[in-house]
C-alpha cells in the first residue's frame, strides 16, 4: 500500500462579470486579450467560452488555511480588476436573468471550435462551477476513491446550490446549473471504473477513435485529473460566500482521508449503481438541502439535512486530524439558514420578485469574508 495521499488542495472558480448598472452579464475577457494571447496581469486568468465568464485557480495549497488565503486573494484580485473597468463580480452558478443567447463567445479558435461542435448547447452552457482538486498521488487509490465517493457527491452538491434562476425565471430547482450541464455528453455521475486499467482503456478507446483529445474532456462530477496527480471534484455550484467554498473543499479533503484510512483497514464504502446515485443527485439539484435523499444502505428516504449531518459525523475524526474544524462552521449555517440558492430565493421574495435585487445581493455576498 502506498503512502498517505498528500491531500493538497486547489480550487478553481468560475466568476460572473456584471455591469453594476444593468446588472446584466458583461463581456470582459476580450479586454485582456491581445490577439490570441492574454495580456499579462499578475495572475493567470483563463478565458472561457462566454466572454462574461472568467476562471481563476489557486496554486496548490498544502492546508485548508492556505487555500482560504489564496481563494480570498484570488477573489479580491478579480473584484479589483473588474472594478478598474467599472464592473462587478458575482459568484453564482447561473446569472439570475441574463440570457444565454445574447452572450458573446470568446473569439479564440478553440471556443469557436467548441461552438461549432456543440452548437446551441455550447451557447446555453452559461453556468459557473467550482472545481476542487485534492492531491492523490497513487492512481489506483484515486480511481478507487472516485468509485465510492460518487455516493456522497449529491450531499455536497446540496450544500453548494446557487442557481435557482434561469433567464429571469424561478426554475423550481436549486441547482439549475446541474440540469443545463446534463445536456453535455460525458457529464454527470462518473461511471464505475474497477481499476486504473479500466479508466485508461476507456480514455484510450475515446482518444484512438477521435472522440476526445485527452481525459480533460471527461466532465464527470469527479475525475482523476489528466495532468495533475489529483482527484477533481466538479459537482458543485460555485459558492457565493468564500467561507462556504472553503468548508466544502474541507469536506472533500476529509472524505478522501477517511476513505484512505478505511482502505488501510480493508474496508470500503459500498459501490452503488450509477442510476441510484443519479436519483440522489437529482434530488439535490431539485430541492437542495430542503428535500429528502435516499440512504441506499437502509433503502429509506431521510431528510437531506440529517444525511449531511451524518456525513459530517462520519468524517469527524478526519476533520479533526486535518485541523480544519474551525472552517466547518459555514456548514452548520447552511443547514440552519439555507444554501446560496435559498438565500437568493429569499431576497427575490422579500423584494417582490425584483430579480435585479438578487444580482445586487450576489455581488455583495461575493465580497463577504474577503
Amino acid at each position: 500500500m502506498s503512502e498517505r495521499p498528500s491531500l493538497t488542495i486547489g480550487i478553481e472558480d468560475e466568476y460572473q462579470i456584471i455591469d453594476p448598472e444593468t446588472r446584466e452579464l458583461r463581456s470582459f475577457i476580450t479586454q485582456f486579450l491581445d490577439g490570441e494571447r492574454m495580456i499579462m496581469v499578475e495572475r493567470e486568468i483563463k478565458p472561457e467560452l462566454h466572454q462574461a465568464m472568467v476562471e481563476l485557480g489557486t496554486p496548490v495549497c498544502h492546508t485548508l488555511e492556505q487555500a482560504r488565503d489564496e481563494l480570498v486573494k484570488q477573489r479580491r484580485f478579480i473584484i479589483d480588476l473588474a472594478a478598474q473597468k467599472g464592473l462587478a463580480v458575482a459568484a453564482a452558478a447561473t446569472h439570475p436573468f441574463s440570457r444565454w443567447f445574447d452572450q458573446s463567445v470568446t473569439p479564440l479558435p478553440r471556443y469557436q471550435g467548441v461552438l461549432q461542435e456543440m452548437q446551441l448547447l455550447a451557447q446555453r452552457l452559461l453556468i459557473f462551477g467550482m472545481h476542487v482538486h485534492i492531491g492523490i498521488e497513487d492512481r489506483a487509490f484515486a480511481i478507487d476513491t472516485m468509485n465510492v465517493v460518487r455516493y456522497m457527491l449529491p450531499h455536497v452538491l446540496a450544500l453548494s446550490t446557487s442557481s435557482p434562476f434561469w433567464i429571469g425565471r424561478k426554475t423550481g430547482l436549486k441547482s439549475y446549473r446541474s440540469a443545463v450541464f446534463a445536456d453535455f455528453p460525458r457529464s454527470g455521475t462518473a461511471e464505475i471504473c474497477r481499476t486504473v486499467a479500466d479508466w485508461d482503456n476507456m480514455i484510450g478507446a475515446l482518444t484512438r477513435s477521435g472522440c476526445i483529445p485527452d481525459g480533460s474532456k471527461i466532465w464527470w462530477d469527479c475525475r482523476p485529473h489528466h495532468k495533475y496527480p489529483t482527484l477533481e471534484f466538479r459537482i458543485c455550484d460555485i459558492c457565493t460566500r468564500v467561507d462556504e467554498a472553503i468548508a466544502i473543499a474541507g469536506i472533500f479533503q476529509a472524505l478522501v482521508l477517511w476513505l484512505w484510512k478505511l482502505r488501510q483497514r480493508n474496508i470500503t464504502f459500498r459501490v452503488y449503481r450509477t442510476e441510484l446515485i443519479d436519483e440522489n443527485r437529482w434530488r439535490a439539484a431539485r430541492y437542495g438541502i430542503d428535500g429528502k435523499m435516499i440512504d441506499f444502505g437502509k433503502t429509506e428516504e431521510l431528510p437531506t439535512r440529517a444525511l449531511v449531518r451524518e456525513l459530517l459525523e462520519m468524517i469527524g475524526e478526519e476533520i479533526d486530524e486535518l485541523g480544519i474544524r474551525p472552517f466547518m462552521n459555514p456548514i452548520d449555517d447552511i443547514l440552519a439558514h439555507g444554501a446560496g440558492a435559498d438565500r437568493q430565493l429569499r431576497v427575490y421574495d422579500a423584494n417582490d420578485g425584483d430579480i435585479k435585487a438578487v444580482v445586487d445581493h450576489l455581488i455583495a455576498e461575493t465580497q463577504e469574508g474577503l
Partner: protein, 372 residues
C-alpha cells in the same frame, strides 16, 4: 429460454397544428394498455379534447404479429387522426419537436406530466418533445434484459434515421435531434447501464419505488427498457417522424436488430458489451449530426460515416428481416439514407423558403398526411 414472438407495437405521438398560425394546439400520444391501443389527447382546448376522446375509436389490439399488420394498424390510426382534423379544424404533424411553438402558457397541456412537473419542475416544462416508441415482443424476461444490454450499442444508429427535431422555439439548434436533449434532461433517461438479469433490473426499479423516487415503473424512461407490464422490450430513443414509411422502416430495423441479438445468443455468441460512456458518444453524434456525421465503430476504434455503419447494420440484419417478412419495409431505410432524415429535409425546406419556419410546419403536415 423460449423463442421470442418478435411481435410489434408502435406508439406514435402526433402534434395538432392550427392551420392558420401553424402553432401547436395540442398533441396526442398513444400507449399500450390492457388489450388495446388507447389514444390520449392532451389538448388545452376542451372541445378539441372531447372531439378526440370520442372520435378516436380503439385501433384494435395493439400487438401486431408482423410488420404487415403493424402497417395496417398504423395507417388506420393516422387516417382517423386526419378525419378528426377535418372535423376539428386542425392539421396533424409528426416530428420530434414543433419548429417554433414555445412552452409558455402551455402548462395545462402537460397534464400527463403533472406529477413529473412537480418533481422535475422547470426541466419538465421544456418537454414538448415527441417520440416514437417501438415495442418488440421478447417474452422471456431474462432474454429481454440480455437483448437490452447488447442492443444499446446499435440504438444511436437507429436514432440517426429518425432524427426530426432540428428546430426549437424558432431557432436552428444546430442539432438533428434536439428532442433527445430535451428528454435526456429528465431523470432516468438516456442510454441505460447494463443489468445482470431481470431480477437485477427489477430490484433497481423496486428500490426506486420503495424510496418514493417514482410512483410506478413507467417513470423509468431509458432509451430501451423492458415494458413494466407487457412482455416487450420498448425502444424509445427515436424521434417521431412525419412519414409513415419511415416509421415502418425504422420499426422493421429495430425488430430485425432485436432478432439478430437473439440469434447470436442462440449460437452461444453475444454482441460485445460496451461501456455506457462509449455508447453515449455515438448517441451524441447521432443527436448532433444525424446521418451526416461519423459514428465510432468501437470494435475497430475508428470513426466511419454514419451511413456506412447503418448500411453495415442493415446488411447484418437482412437475413432476420427476410425471416420476419419485413424486408420490403426495412428496405426503405436505404431511401432514408439517400434522401436524408426528416431533420435534413426540414432544414432544406427552411433554407429553400428563406428561413421561413412556417414553411417547415407546412412540410411536416404534408409529409404526415401523405398516406400513399
Amino acid at each position: 429460454m423460449y423463442y421470442p414472438s418478435f411481435n410489434i407495437g408502435i406508439e406514435e405521438e402526433y402534434q395538432l397544428i392550427d392551420p392558420e398560425s401553424r402553432e401547436l394546439l395540442g398533441y396526442v400520444t398513444q400507449s399500450m394498455a390492457r388489450e388495446k391501443m388507447v389514444v390520449n389527447e392532451r389538448a388545452p382546448n376542451a372541445d378539441l379534447a372531447k372531439l378526440i376522446r370520442e372520435g378516436a375509436v380503439a385501433a384494435g389490439t395493439p400487438v401486431c404479429v408482423d410488420i404487415n399488420e403493424a402497417r395496417d394498424k398504423l395507417l388506420r390510426v393516422r387516417e382517423q387522426m386526419l378525419e378528426l382534423g377535418v372535423v376539428g379544424g386542425f392539421k396533424v404533424a409528426g416530428a420530434g419537436t414543433h419548429p417554433f411553438s414555445r412552452w409558455e402558457g402551455r402548462e395545462e397541456m402537460l397534464a400527463q406530466y403533472r406529477q413529473m412537473a412537480e418533481d422535475a419542475q422547470f426541466v419538465a416544462r421544456r418537454i414538448l418533445a415527441f417520440g416514437l416508441r417501438i415495442h418488440i415482443g421478447v417474452e422471456d424476461r431474462d432474454l429481454a434484459i440480455d437483448v437490452m444490454n447488447t442492443i444499446r450499442y446499435l440504438l444511436p444508429h437507429i436514432l440517426c434515421l429518425s432524427t426530426s427535431s432540428p428546430f426549437w422555439q424558432g431557432r436552428d439548434t444546430g442539432l438533428k435531434s434536439y428532442r433527445a436533449v430535451l428528454v435526456d434532461s429528465l431523470p432516468r433517461t438516456g442510454i441505460p447501464g447494463a443489468f445482470a438479469s431481470y431480477h437485477d433490473y427489477r430490484s433497481y426499479v423496486d428500490t426506486l419505488m420503495r424510496t418514493n423516487s417514482i410512483p410506478d415503473p413507467r417513470r423509468v424512461m431509458y432509451d430501451v427498457v423492458p415494458h413494466y407490464r407487457f412482455p416487450t422490450l420498448v425502444i424509445r430513443i427515436c424521434d417521431m417522424t412525419p412519414s409513415y414509411r419511415d416509421v415502418l422502416a425504422i420499426t422493421a430495423l429495430a425488430q430485425a436488430t432485436v432478432a439478430w441479438m437473439v440469434d447470436l445468443r442462440q449460437r452461444n455468441m453475444s454482441f460485445r458489451l460496451y461501456d455506457r460512456i462509449l455508447i453515449a458518444e455515438n448517441k451524441w453524434r447521432a443527436v448532433r449530426y444525424g446521418l451526416d456525421g461519423n459514428l465510432v465503430d468501437f470494435g475497430i476504434e475508428q470513426q466511419l460515416p454514419a451511413r456506412t455503419l447503418i448500411r453495415e447494420l442493415i446488411d447484418r440484419v437482412e437475413p432476420m428481416a427476410r425471416r420476419l417478412s419485413s424486408w420490403h419495409e426495412l428496405e426503405h431505410c436505404y431511401t432514408i439514407l439517400e434522401r436524408g432524415s426528416s431533420a435534413d429535409r426540414q432544414l432544406a425546406v427552411w433554407r429553400a423558403h428563406g428561413e421561413d419556419i412556417r414553411a417547415v410546419v407546412d412540410y411536416l403536415v404534408a409529409e404526415t398526411e401523405n398516406l400513399a
